[in-house]
Every structure is written in C-alpha cells, then in structure tokens.
C-alpha cells in the first residue's frame, strides 16, 4: 500500500528522532573513547597527551576495581534474586480471588513511583538510623542491640532499599504473565492430582520463563547504573562503591577524566553484553 511518495514522507518523519538519537549516542561516545586514551586531568594540567592503553590497564589493575566489580555483582544479583522470587510469589497471590484486589495492587505498586532520592533517604533516616530509626525501636522493643544498618551491613541495607523500589516492577510484569495462564490446563492438572508444587514447576514456571527473563534483563540494565541511592546513603563508603560509582568518583570527584573514561568504556561493554540478550527477545517479539 505504500507509495514512493509516502515512503519518502515516512523517512522524513523518522529523521528528527533518528538524527537526535544518533547524535546522542555517537558524540559523547566518541568523546569518551577519545579521553580514555589520553592523560586528561582538568584541574592538574589539562590534556597531557596520548597514553595508549595506559588508562585501561590502570583502571583494571587499580585496587578499587575488583572490589567494585564484586560490589556491583552482589548488589545486582541480590536485588534480582529478591525481586524475582518475591515477585513470582506476590504475582501468584495477587492473581487469586480476593476482596479489594485493585486496592491491594495499588499499595504494592506504589514504591515504584517514589523518586530514588526520597526512598533512599526515608529508609536511611526513618527506618535504618541506629538511634531514631523505626528498626532500632523494634530491636530495642525485643531487647536487642540496635544495628547501624548503613555502616554495619551497608550492602545488605542498600539491597533492601533497592529491592523495595523494584519489587513492584517485577510483580507487575509477572502478574501480567500469570493472568494469561491457561485456566483449563491448570484445572485439568488439579483433577489429575498434581500437587501445588508440581503444578508450579511444570505449568506455572515454564509459562512465566519469558516474563522472568525480561524482568531480569531490564532490571539488570537499570541496576547496573544505580546511582542516587548510593549517593545519598553511603556516598560510596563502606564497600558500597559499585563500578558506576567508582567511575563517577574518578571523573567528577578526583577529576581524572582519562581514567574515568576508560572505566566508562568497560561499563558500556558490560551493559552491552546484557543488552544483546534483551534485544534478541524483544526483536523476536516484533516479528509476531
């Protein structure tokens, strides 16, 4: 149905979006790549020339690198496990017949709409504070010594805060998938005497596998660049420095742009490995 004329009109209509995104991608990326090969210290002499792969080697071998990778993996992994497992359970529960289903769903989804700086600060001060936090009141009420969560178990505390923010996302997507489960098949399996657990393993889980994969991939991409939550709680102290935060510190705090840019290139490569898998799934869906 498309004529030559409508084809060129279509190309014209696409142009602004394509050109803008192309610029948004290429210009900063080229600059980062360029800086990563230079010794560039804006506050201490500026651009001091070409250094080859020096920044890459130095970023990779610095004492902060591996701990930051480890922190990143624990943070992302921890949040993924918590949100996916609880998300599946919550989605299955919310799918059951009950009174006030819509209202409960509203309560469960709410944390997703809270801005990151608010949720991090509310948790940090009003719940996890060792003196006045609600948890410390609870701990004292049962006779235990209050815990200084963000300095004693900083990474665990961050995982809790971030999981609280992302659980609604996982639940919502898994719930959408659960609702498309085949009722008759489930009932047939029930009649045949399949236990709840075996129905879950052989019917529910396979049905949810696609949604689970999507939740994992999308969350991973967002979680790899978690910033504000760390910025307002620990500021990267107490082993909560993720790769993203380390790069941020190199670039803006210690103003070593060359080194930070090399780190940025690592982060971009890491994100792209995850992205490739996500794109495959999304791309397959386009063909349908």
């Amino acid at each position: 149905m498309a004529t030559q004329q409508s084809r060129s009109a279509a190309r014209l209509m696409m142009a602004p979006a394509v050109v803008l995104l192309l610029g948004w991608m290429l210009i900063p990326l080229t600059m980062t790549l360029w800086f990563s090969f230079r010794r560039y210290l804006p506050l201490r002499g500026g651009d001091l020339g070409w250094t080859g792969f020096d920044n890459y080697v130095r970023f990779f071998t610095s004492s902060a690198f591996w701990p930051s990778v480890q922190t990143t993996l624990i943070l992302v992994g921890g949040v993924l496990v918590i949100t996916v497992v609880l998300g599946i359970l919550l989605a299955l529960l919310l799918d059951q017949p009950m009174w006030g289903q819509g209202a409960v769903r509203v309560l469960v989804i709410a944390p997703f709409f809270v801005m990151p700086t608010v949720s991090a600060l509310v948790w940090k001060n009003m719940f996890m504070d060792p003196v006045n936090g609600l948890f410390s009141h609870l701990w004292r009420a049962v006779g235990a010594e209050p815990v200084a969560f963000l300095s004693d178990v900083p990474l665990g505390s961050l995982i809790v805060i971030i999981s609280w923010q992302w659980l609604p996302f996982a639940t919502l997507i898994l719930l959408t998938a659960v609702q498309s489960l085949d009722n008759e098949q489930m009932e047939a399996a029930e009649m045949d005497g399949a236990s709840v657990l075996s129905r879950f393993r052989h019917l529910v889980l396979p049905h949810l596998s696609r949604a689970i994969t999507i939740v994992i991939l999308i969350q991973t991409i967002f979680l790899l660049s978690i910033f504000a939550e760390i910025f307002v709680t620990t500021g990267g102290a107490f082993d909560t420095r993720t790769l993203t935060y380390l790069i941020y510190q190199r670039v803006l705090e210690s103003q070593n742009v060359g080194l930070g840019s090399a780190g940025g290139v690592y982060a971009i490569i890491l994100a792209n490995i995850v992205a490739i898998f996500l794109m495959r799934i999304v791309g397959k869906n386009l063909d349908r």
């Binding site: 409508s6 009109a9 279509a10 209509m13 602004p16 979006a17 394509v18 803008l20 995104l21 948004w24 900063p28 980062t32 059951q96 017949p97 006030g100 289903q101 409960v104 769903r105 309560l107 469960v108 989804i109 709410a110 944390p111 709409f113 809270v114 801005m115 600060l121 509310v122 001060n125 009003m126 006045n132 609600l134 009141h137 609280w164 997507i173 959408t176 998938a177 489960l181 085949d182 009722n183 489930m186 696609r210 660049s225 910033f227 504000a228 790069i247 670039v251 930070g260 940025g264 982060a267 971009i268 890491l270 994100a271 792209n272 992205a275 996500l278 999304v282 791309g283 869906n285 386009l286």
Partner: protein, 276 residues
C-alpha cells in the same frame, strides 16, 4: 487464571494480600504520617502511630526555608518540557514505522532501544563538558533536552506498539474517500491514537520526574528539581525527620497519583511491548 474458590479460601487470600500490601506500602504511609508530626513526636520512643497532635507546620517550614515551590516548578518544567518535546518528535517517527514499515524498521527500532542501554556514567564527562561549553550547566533547558533524549526510545516504542494496533483498513478506507496525508493523520489516526499517546505522556512524565542521575550531576542552585532538593537532606542538621517527610510527601504525591492511573500502561512501556 482466576478461579472459583471457597469463601474461606477467599478470606485467607484477602487477609494475606492486604497484610503484604500494607507492609510494602508502609514506608510511604509512615513518611506521610511523620510529615504531620512535630519534630519531637517524629523521633518519639516508642514511636507514635496516629495519636499525635496533627500539624501542618512542617510544610510551611519547608517552603519558607528552602523555597520548595521553586524546585517543584523546576521539576514540572523539566519533566513536562522533556515529555512534550519527546512526544512531538516521536509521534511522526512512530507513525511512519507503524504504517509505512520498510525492511529496516525493525533494525531502527532495536537500535533506538540500544541507545537506552548506554550507561549514563560512561558519557558523564562528555555531556558535562558539552554543557559547560554551551552554557547549559544548571539550566532547565539543558535537562529538558537530556531527559527527552533518554526517554525518546521508550516514547517511540510505546507509541509504535499502540499505533500498530490501529487497523490499516481504516486508513485505506480514508484514502479511498480522498483523504490526503494531512487529513489522514489529523482526522483518522489522531482520534484513535489519543489514548495511547496519553498513556505514553504519563509514563514519560513519571520517568522524567524521578530521574536522578543527570538531575543530580548537572544542576546546582538554579535548575535543581525535586530529586536534587531531596538529596540536600542527606546531610542533616539537628531534628529533621518531620521536615524531610513533609518535603518527601510533596515530592512524591503528584507522581503516586499519576502512577496509579498508569499502572496498566507501565508494563507495556517498560518492557518495550514484550509483555502485554
């Protein structure tokens, strides 16, 4: 897969779901309640739940001390501006991809999505440098552009999935009746696309409102939106829980309300149409 169950089972489901729902919602509820307490009541031990002397003074103090309305206005301008700009650019693009698809449409869509995967910190310094050069640092217009670019892939994708559901036959019929490209878009497509565009606007606005990497790193006193305003509470002075709560409540209330309207579209928008 909702099925018929016994009333007893339904009561158990209800009790369990409400308990968990209220637990998850509790931090927000607690923040809202604390915002109406005095600072002394906010740290009272044991904590007071409802039996305190309700007051609005924290809201007045937050506005008076830090000119809360200015940050709110910045948030509105930045989130609203980036959304409007994004939709204006995305509607024609999504329209052409949905109705005049070519061999490369799929590749373009996936490539657009891939720009969303770029970790912000990887391009922090270049953007910082460009902003300094162009005098955009700590300006609202700079953030409008950045947040528009960040959300553009999601806006295009969401609009594309909505537009694709509009049956092509309607367009053909309109063309048979002699409608040109302009009439086609204005009188046939737009009315059918309004619900899709509305939910896209909503999601984009929410995402921009809550964005907290660029808004924290590219603003100072002038253009700082609510995300940055709240972050200033991370180094507290004295008693501040009630004031933090009042500021937080004001920052999240508009989005909580908008968010509840958009929960269905959220799935589609955030999974790029992969889960519907």
């Amino acid at each position: 897969m909702a099925r018929a169950v016994t009333p007893k089972q339904k009561a158990i489901n209800t009790g369990l779901a409400w308990t968990i729902g209220l637990l998850i919602f509790f931090p927000i509820l607690w923040t809202i309640l604390t915002s109406f307490k005095t600072e002394a009541e906010a740290i009272a031990s044991p904590p007071v739940f409802l039996n305190f002397s309700w007051t609005l003074e924290n809201y007045a103090i937050v506005q008076e001390r830090s000119d809360y309305l200015r940050f709110l206005w910045n948030s509105v301008i930045i989130a609203g501006g980036s959304t409007i700009l994004g939709v204006i650019i995305a509607v024609p693009a999504a329209w052409s991809m949905a109705f005049v698809p070519s061999r490369r449409t799929k590749d373009i869509l996936l490539w657009m999505l891939s720009t969303k995967m770029l970790p912000a910190v990887g391009v922090l310094y270049p953007i910082y440098l460009i902003f300094i050069q162009l005098g955009l640092l700590d300006s609202r217009i700079g953030l409008v552009v950045i947040l528009m670019l960040i959300n553009l892939p999601i806006i295009v994708w969401m609009l594309y999935t909505y537009f694709r559901e509009i049956p092509g036959e309607i367009l053909e019929a309109a063309r048979m009746d002699g409608a040109g490209l302009r009439e086609e878009i204005l009188y046939v497509l737009t009315p059918m696309a309004v619900p899709g565009i509305a939910s896209t606007v909503l999601l984009s606005f929410i995402l921009a409102w809550n964005e907290a990497f660029w808004t924290l790193n590219l603003t100072a006193a002038n253009a700082a939106p609510l995300t940055a305003f709240i972050a200033s509470y991370s180094s507290p002075e004295g008693l501040f829980y009630a004031k933090l709560s009042a500021a937080s409540t004001m920052a999240i209330a508009p989005i909580l309300i908008l968010g509840w309207f958009s929960q269905k579209q959220l799935v589609r928008g955030l999974t790029f149409g992969a889960v519907k």
